[in-house]
């Protein structure tokens, strides 16, 4: 177990170029030891490139990689304190489960009885007891991923890298494996760095997240902070179901920033944003925080309002969404627990007003 606050992974000005295209551009990031850290972002954004740079599978164009304080930029994968779980199953098809899991220990020339003990113990931890003699093709998708995990964890490396490990699994299995991964990480206590483009997967497992897009770090922080208080517009668009309203700053009065949306004027708290009158800005509000005012669901004042026309209700089981049109043709989405929704009986075409507490809006300058 690492000491609290110790940095397990640090990248400084890390860049990777393919010709004139930068897959990763001057990225700085730190990951604490012992945490479950997720790199989240759209496909092609640079998350896997970053992970592979940390693992030593590709060489950076610029910048450095530090693992537990040691510069490993020029070291190959086998000399780094990392192990990796791959997206498509990278099990060795000509070896049994036991041989797969014990491969790294044999490379280290550990004594045979120690190898046997550690492998059996790891098979038990990963729920693979009794499957040691099976070949990879005889296992289900979930079992194959567990073998990969067992093979990596048995080496007791300090950092485990996971490259979209659940992408090839069906939705049900993915949910179960998410919880399984989290349980394993808490049990073994090592640093997990997990790449995914799936928001739900990220939110389930992560202690902290980094949003990577277009080769750059957009924002990082805890899952709660990024969900409830996204600093960047991209984060608000990517995480959660946020409504984004674009406009121009009309006036600034202390913490209150008035924004002209064109079809209405709303206010938002400035918080730490530097804005000037005339700046183009955007405001994000989570869909579950917007209410139909006519339904008099209590909102904490001050309240911001917009006029809208109700279009349709979308039933998604636990949650239902209401879709409304704004005066500029844009949409606003409101969400609530299905049993609880205040818009159950609203007829399509009804003109009404939607509102939110001013404090629930987030101001974005980019």
């Amino acid at each position: 177990m690492s000491s609290e606050g110790e940095i397990a992974v640090e990248v400084r000005s890390l860049s990777k170029a393919y010709g004139s295209v930068f897959a990763l551009n001057a990225l700085d990031m730190k990951i604490k030891a012992g945490e479950y850290f997720v790199l989240l972002g759209p496909s092609g954004g640079g998350k896997t490139t970053l992970l592979r740079l940390v693992g030593g599978f590709i060489r950076p164009t610029l910048g450095n990689v530090f693992l537990h304080g040691k510069d490993v930029t020029n070291l190959p994968p086998n000399l780094r304190p990392t192990s990796m779980v791959f997206q498509s199953f990278a099990l060795f098809p000509h070896m049994t489960v036991t041989k797969n899991v014990s491969y790294g220990l044999r490379l280290r020339k550990r004594p045979e009885d120690e190898i046997l003990d550690r492998v059996q113990s790891m098979l038990k931890i990963t729920g693979l007891q009794g499957l040691g003699d099976r070949m990879p093709h005889e296992l289900s998708g979930g079992q194959q991923q567990r073998v990969q995990l067992a093979r990596s964890l048995v080496l007791e490396t300090k950092i485990l890298l996971l490259d979209e490990p659940l992408a090839a699994l069906d939705a049900r299995l993915r949910k179960e494996m998410c919880i399984e991964l989290k349980r394993l990480q808490e049990k073994v206590g090592i640093t997990f760095v997990h790449v995914t483009h799936n928001q739900e997967e990220a939110m389930t497992v992560a202690d902290n997240l980094a949003i990577i897009s277009d080769g750059r770090l957009v924002e990082s922080g805890s899952t709660i902070d990024l969900y409830e208080s996204p600093g960047r517009r991209f984060t608000a668009e990517f995480i959660g179901e946020n409504n984004i309203f674009d406009g121009e700053v009309k006036s600034i009065n202390g913490e209150d920033v008035q924004v002209d949306l064109g079809y209405g004027i709303v206010s938002v708290f400035r918080r730490d944003k530097d804005v000037l009158v005339g700046d183009r800005v955007s405001i994000s509000i989570r869909s579950e925080l917007i209410k139909i005012l006519d339904n008099s669901r209590a909102l904490e004042p001050p309240i911001e309002e917009l006029g809208a026309v109700y279009r349709q209700t979308v039933y998604l089981g636990l949650i239902s969404s209401g879709i409304l049109s704004l005066a500029n043709g844009g949409e606003v989405v409101i969400r609530d627990i299905s049993n609880n929704i205040g818009f159950k009986e609203v007829i399509a075409g009804t003109k009404l007003r939607v509102g939110w507490s001013r404090g629930d809006g987030r101001l974005h300058t980019n």
Partner: protein, 296 residues
């Protein structure tokens, strides 16, 4: 069968045509085998079965020496060309210019054998002149025989000839191999060599052995380049051809040729059988994997 609606007769006719082509190609070989058991030799009216010629193989010293030299050439060629083929195939898979690699590796195929042989002959002769002159210049005789025609020049010609085939066979086998397994091995602590030896090679082994067999058979069959580059020794094919052209083939030659054919057929047949059996096993395994598995 292509699909449920295609005619079974069309399918059978295609098989029949294929078999006829194979039989036609193999007929001369079978005929030589047939003659090799005839006491009265080639062209005789009467056929009397005998194993005498096979017994006399070991008394034909010219043929035995040629066979020995051919085996030596094929062994050396195979052990040199095999790693070259593997490295080139791996380069093809990792480079961003795969067509350049393919073009370079397959280019000898587009040069007729006599032209390639003649070009190499001129090349070695000029190298010989140049190195001899160098040796005279610096007062040593080390370089005098370096590029004389002989085993080295013959082997170089055979390497150029066999390398494209070895490259292609290994490349095709590597097509099934996933590079992520190498990365997984590296992340387990394996060096590049260990990852190749433990993980990749076992999976491309069939292709490697096939390419070895290919290299040996091509070397045995090669005449044009080898006859130009061999210098003073003989190979199996050069002896056979010179016998045919000058004095007619001896009965032992037919026996020897048949013996080599038996070995080639056994080797290739074994590889084909092994590949078919393995493919069937893999298909069964894939089918088993595709079926629903109830328990996790």
């Amino acid at each position: 069968m292509e699909d449920d609606y295609s005619s079974i007769w069309s399918y059978r006719l295609k098989w029949l045509y294929t078999l006829l082509v194979v039989v036609t190609l193999m007929l001369p070989v079978f005929y030589v085998m047939y003659i090799s058991f005839n006491e009265n030799g080639f062209g005789a009216r009467d056929y009397e079965f005998t194993l005498e010629w096979y017994g006399l193989i070991f008394s034909d010293l010219l043929m035995l020496d040629a066979l020995r030299d051919t085996l030596f050439l094929s062994f050396l060629t195979t052990i040199i060309v095999l790693p070259m083929g593997i490295i080139s195939a791996k380069l093809y898979k990792t480079t961003s210019h795969p067509m350049v690699v393919v073009s370079l590796m397959l280019s000898p195929l587009f040069v007729p054998s006599d032209i390639l042989g003649s070009a190499l002959l001129v090349f070695f002769k000029n190298l010989n002149i140049a190195f001899n002159a160098l040796g005279k210049l610096i007062g040593v005789s080390w370089f005098d025989t370096w590029f004389d025609l002989g085993y080295m020049s013959a082997i170089i010609g055979l390497i150029i000839y066999t390398l494209p085939y070895v490259f292609i066979v290994i490349l095709i086998t590597m097509g099934r191999y996933r590079e992520q397994q190498t990365e997984a091995a590296r992340s387990c602590g394996a060096t590049a060599w260990q990852a190749f030896k433990d993980i990749e090679f076992p999976q491309i082994r069939t292709g490697v052995f096939s390419s070895c067999a290919f290299a040996v058979i091509l070397t045995f069959n090669e005449y044009t380049r080898t006859s130009l580059l061999k210098g003073g020794f003989d190979t199996f094919s050069t002896v056979l051809v010179s016998q045919m052209l000058n004095e007619g083939m001896s009965e032992q030659s037919y026996a020897m040729s048949s013996l080599v054919s038996y070995i080639a057929i056994i080797v290739i047949g074994t590889i084909i059988l092994f590949t078919l059996v393995r493919r069937e096993r893999l298909e069964r395994e894939l089918k088993a994997k595709a079926e629903p598995i109830m328990a996790r």
